[in-house]
């Protein structure tokens, strides 16, 4: 147990410099971009612009701005938004976060459980019609990008048939969430299904599976008790990219379905050179991905005891 805890602790420590790196790189990169936060508006008289810049400390030396920013973060202050002048970045992000989180959560759930279920069934009925159908479906899922699936689904289910609302959050109920969640989740469901199938087939080929069958164990229990855990290992290690993908995909999905999440702030912020807003969203996303990877490592270490003892 001790090695496991040490392993978790080490991984946690390793995440911190990564997050710092992300923040630093983004900070300097966004400021490298030509143009500034006030260019989007009508031409401002230079005096006003200079005043604005001084107000936001944009005239100070870049490194001073950097350290100011870092110390601000540690106190929970992500600065004011330059484009949405009446709001602080923290306000905006917290405002949009619940919507993004809910959609993201359900998509992840769909992808993981749907994928594992489909993949396991395929593996059990290997090379049968069930297998071929499920795998073709998975293949389609991962080949169709979410920004293609979304409009196509909207066209079919909302415009041509009035079965679902075409967008907007509404009351956050099934009708409004169903399409965004399906579009976000299916690509990864397809991928997880294929990975699970492969891993399950390999796990079922192991010698100890033969022993379990020879004992008279019915096939369902053979899979559940003896194959599942080792089959999950490659699937779990794939969950990191899946989480990152869903988070990335949310940018587009929120845009298409008009959901008031955090995604639009990132894109608008980048295009509008709203430095603090961009930074805020980057830290949020980066942090989420790093946490997701950490959780994946923890689960992986649990499933695969040998990895904890790596030199």
């Amino acid at each position: 147990m001790n090695t496991y805890l040490i392993f978790i602790f080490k991984r946690f420590l390793q995440s911190i410099p990564t997050l710092w790196l992300v923040i630093t790189i983004s900070f300097f990169m966004i400021r490298l971009a030509p143009g500034g936060p006030f260019d989007m508006e009508r031409q401002l008289p230079p005096v006003v612009e200079a005043n604005l810049k001084a107000y936001y400390n944009l005239d100070k030396n870049l490194f001073i701005q950097y350290f100011d920013y870092l110390s601000g973060i540690l106190q929970g202050d992500f600065g004011p938004s330059y484009n949405y002048r009446d709001f602080s970045v923290a306000d905006l992000i917290l405002d949009g976060l619940p919507y993004s989180a809910i959609v993201g959560f359900w998509s992840l759930l769909l992808a993981i459980f749907g994928g594992i279920l489909l993949g396991s069934i395929s593996a059990l009925y290997r090379n049968s019609y069930v297998d071929y159908t499920l795998m073709t479906f998975s293949m389609l899922g991962l080949a169709i990008p979410n920004f293609v699936l979304a409009p196509v689904l909207i066209l079919w289910l909302c415009v041509w048939n009035d079965w679902f609302p075409a967008g907007g959050w509404g009351d956050g109920g099934f009708a409004n969430l169903a399409l965004p969640v399906i579009t976000l989740g299916t690509a990864y469901m397809g991928n997880i299904a294929r990975t699970t199938r492969g891993a399950m087939i390999e796990a079922l080929g192991a010698n100890h599976i033969r022993t379990a069958r020879a004992k008279g164990l019915p096939e369902k229990l053979v899979v559940w008790r003896h194959a599942m855990k080792s089959a999950m290992i490659p699937v779990v290690s794939y969950l990191g990219p899946v989480s990152a993908g869903i988070i990335t995909g949310s940018l587009v999905i929120e845009q298409i379905f008009g959901l008031p999440g955090v995604g639009r702030y990132f894109v608008q912020g980048a295009l509008g050179r709203d430095y603090t807003l961009v930074m805020g969203t980057v830290i949020l996303y980066g942090g989420l991905i790093i946490i997701a990877n950490l959780i994946v490592d923890i689960i992986y270490g649990f499933l695969n005891p040998r990895i904890r003892e790596e030199k």
Binding site: G198, I201, V252, G286
Partner: protein, 289 residues
């Protein structure tokens, strides 16, 4: 004097190729991809309309056989067929070049890291781990925002994202090869490290690398389309499938053909690459069927 046929195909590879061609899905995919490739390259040359020819009388019009506007036109009155095919050129070429970049960087990095081993390997892999943990898509988006929307930038950014996985795979393969007895035998024979990497390691690593490459190409196409969809891709008047789909999405209720045709091309292309990649993997390693 017995001549060694140096250019004779490695019969292990011949077996694999035979298996590949027996797989119907792979063969179908190869055919489909070839067709797409050919019409994307030669189509715009043959067709009468240009990428940016404007038909003032046919703004956003449905598909029609007049003036060869088989796929209809976009909101600027431009021939969608030609634009789709030109978009294909961009999307596919970006994917292939980016993948090659990833290939060269990844294979070299991975082989050296795996073969040299020890401290060097630990450090090299740690670097990969750190980069891997970063939310790369966001850095790419920032990169493109910062440095503008040039084709070069996109190739570079995409290649840089994909080399990590390639390096990891090659390193893993190299590690498991290192312990195989034919490597130890070569050592015992007195063969130099460089020769061992060249003659024994690299030829045995090629299998998984080819499979991975074929599966990376559709991934890159997806990413490029994604960027283009967000408005961060190629610039006017050049276009790619992502741009076309973005334009189509905005107008899908009134001009669904603008969405549908480029989407079909994109999806079919990605599907074909995936089936092909699967087929290649099964051909080289039939155990996992």
């Amino acid at each position: 004097m017995l001549k060694t046929k140096k250019n004779q195909f490695d019969s292990l590879n011949k077996d694999a190729i035979r298996r590949l061609f027996a797989n119907k899905a792979s063969v179908a995919s190869l055919i489909v991809l070839s067709i797409i490739l050919i019409i994307s390259v030669f189509g715009p040359m043959i067709l009468p309309n240009d990428l940016d020819t404007v038909y003032w009388d046919y703004i956003q019009s449905k598909p029609t056989t007049e003036n060869f506007l088989i796929f209809g036109t976009d909101s600027n009155g431009r021939d969608l067929l030609v634009r789709t095919l030109s978009g294909g050129r961009v999307s596919i070429s970006v994917a292939i070049i980016a993948t090659l970049v990833a290939l060269v960087v990844g294979v070299t990095y991975g082989a050296i890291s795996g073969y040299v081993g020890g401290r060097t390997d630990a450090v090299m892999m740690r670097i990969v781990d750190i980069i891997y943990a970063m939310p790369f898509m966001f850095v790419v988006i920032l990169l493109v925002v910062v440095f503008g929307r040039s084709i070069m930038m996109i190739y570079l950014a995409l290649g840089l994202v994909e080399w990590l996985d390639m390096a990891r795979i090659v390193r893993g393969q190299t590690l498991s090869l290192k312990t195989k007895e034919f490597i130890i035998s070569a050592n015992a024979l007195g063969v130099s490290n460089f020769s061992i990497i060249r003659k024994h390691i690299i030829p045995n690593v090629i299998g998984p690398v080819v499979v991975y490459m074929t599966l990376t190409i559709p991934k890159v196409i997806l990413i490029e389309s994604f960027l283009s969809f967000l408005g961060l891709g190629v610039q006017e008047p050049n276009t790619s499938w992502g741009v076309l789909i973005s334009e189509g999405t905005a107008l899908m209720e009134v001009a669904p053909w603008m969405l549908i045709y480029p989407s079909i091309f994109l999806v079919v292309c990605i599907l074909a690459f995936n089936f092909l990649g699967d087929g290649i993997r099964d051909a080289f390693d039939p155990k996992t069927r």
